[in-house]
């Protein structure tokens, strides 16, 4: 018998709203199945179950907002006897084990009823927040009924007309529409403040000659249809994954004063949300994926991140983070580590630069790679070997 609890989807999460159950009492579930959806500051996350079993009882109903650690459902292991107690008994007399595991088991607070998911452009969302427009009342005229900026402006103009006798919307509802961006900001603020408070960062930087890798990739992409083309970012992800295999100390966590390197390499890739903020979901087992598989994984991840449809494991599993700001034109990234991870690799824009080799000056496409390392866990020497390994793998790009 196990409790399926509201998971912590990041160091900064305190509570979540149960949005939807994907299972009902009596359903068989397997480890990894998505059984519920939870709304957090980072959007709606699909929650996976960690063991096989049967859903015996659902304890929290859709719409309820509960703190992290609250039991959401009871999962009975296959073959285990059904419990004789009734639902009421279960709720009013928690076992000692339960008390221990969830000391401040709080009463679920009634949360606002979940509205239909609103399709809206980020720009329109920002406008609506500024103008305090209730999005549930706006008719979208964009693709699939998406709300665009013009729709919001029209709604704002209408709202100005005297309609004083209409009762105010409950404030939570307005906050929900406007709150997403604010929520992300808060989540980032909490994690980054903790990082800067607790983690003694060290920074290393190296320039990498990308001419071989880019020439090779260009030749490869020429043979491919538009849909099968690979972006340089994918080479960087794979090179980092392989370099972590060479220098495993940077892949993992610092928890309760102990460095815990991880065997599996799950790379958190920073994806910016166009309306502001970013999310760094994990690409699982990046070292074991081919470039094509990585490209596909990244494509899928970007779409789901921007649509707010990530899975719980993607929110929590990253063992290192990559920040790639090359598209915007910066040359060097000095990263802030995402706790409890112990390293962050940054990549800037690939630019043509003078390059001296064997006493000759030439012009090469050059990438600046940086490492922010947690000095409690590793030293500059380790970090230097890591950056060197990235360089080595990029020179040997055919083997990526």
């Amino acid at each position: 018998m196990a409790e399926f609890r509201m998971p912590s989807l990041g160091a900064d999460m305190e509570e979540g709203i149960l949005v939807e159950w994907k299972v009902k009492t009596g359903d068989h579930v397997k480890r990894g199945d998505i059984i519920a959806e939870v709304e957090t500051q980072k959007g709606i996350i699909e929650i996976e179950v960690f063991e096989d079993g049967v859903v015996e009882q659902i304890l929290v109903q859709p719409g309820e907002k509960v703190p992290v650690g609250t039991a959401l459902a009871i999962i009975r292991a296959e073959g285990e006897e059904e419990r004789p107690e009734t639902a009421e008994a279960k709720k009013t007399t928690p076992s000692t084990e339960e008390k221990k595991a969830a000391p401040e088991k709080p009463k679920p607070q009634p949360a606002i009823k979940r509205e239909k998911r609103i399709r809206i452009s980020p720009l329109a969302r920002r406008f609506a927040a500024e103008l305090a427009i209730d999005l549930s009342k706006v008719d979208g005229t964009g693709p699939d009924g998406a709300i665009n900026r013009a729709d919001v402006e029209r709604a704002a103009a209408q709202a100005k007309k005297p309609e004083k006798h209409v009762p105010e919307q409950p404030p939570e509802k307005k906050e929900r529409a406007a709150g997403f961006h604010e929520g992300i900001r808060k989540a980032i603020a909490a994690a980054m403040a903790r990082s800067n408070r607790e983690i003694p960062h060290y920074y290393l930087e190296t320039r990498i000659d990308m001419s071989r890798a880019l020439k090779g990739l260009e030749a490869e992409n020429r043979k491919r249809s538009v849909k099968e083309r690979i972006l340089p970012a994918v080479l960087l992800i794979k090179a980092v994954a392989l370099a972590l295999g060479d220098v495993p100390a940077l892949n993992g966590y610092w928890i309760d004063g102990v460095h815990r390197p991880q065997e599996a390499i799950h790379i958190g890739f920073a994806i910016s949300l166009r309306q502001g903020g970013l999310v760094t979901p994990a690409i699982h087992h990046a070292d074991l994926k081919s470039l094509d598989e990585l490209m596909e994984a990244l494509r899928d991840l970007i779409i789901r991140t921007r649509a707010g449809r990530l899975r719980s494991s993607e929110m929590t599993d990253s063992t290192i983070t990559i920040t790639n700001l090359g598209d915007i034109g910066v040359e060097t990234v000095y990263g802030v580590i995402y706790p409890p991870q112990v390293a962050l690799t940054g990549f800037g824009r690939i630019t043509e630069q003078p390059w001296v080799e064997n006493g000759m000056i030439g012009i090469r496409p050059v990438l600046t790679a940086t490492l922010a390392g947690d000095h409690r866990a590793t030293d500059g020497h380790t970090g230097a070997r890591f950056l060197d390994a990235i360089n080595k793998h990029l020179q040997d790009w055919e083997k990526l």
Partner: protein
């Protein structure tokens, strides 16, 4: 295919990638990646979308010719059958 049809297709494809994009508000010489905050993945999706709808196969080496609305329209006009 005339310029207006091409323009409409471009707007449709861009609308899928960046729903807030308003192609008409872009001036013809604005850099679309910078103005619309489109990253390299979005841009690749844009190229894929054009390929789907118009059948133009745009080689990577030509991406530089697709920086602004004016350039995109003239490139597509020249390459679409």
């Amino acid at each position: 295919m005339n310029e207006e049809q091409i323009r409409k297709t471009i707007v449709d494809v861009l609308g899928q990638i960046a729903p807030e994009a308003d192609f008409d508000e872009l001036s013809p010489d604005d850099n679309i990646q910078k103005t619309l905050d489109i990253d390299s993945f979005d841009f690749l999706n844009f190229i894929i979308g054009l390929n789907d709808k118009l059948g133009v196969d745009i080689p990577e080496s030509d991406y530089g010719q697709l920086a602004t609305p004016a350039k995109i329209i003239s490139y597509i006009s020249a390459h679409v059958e």
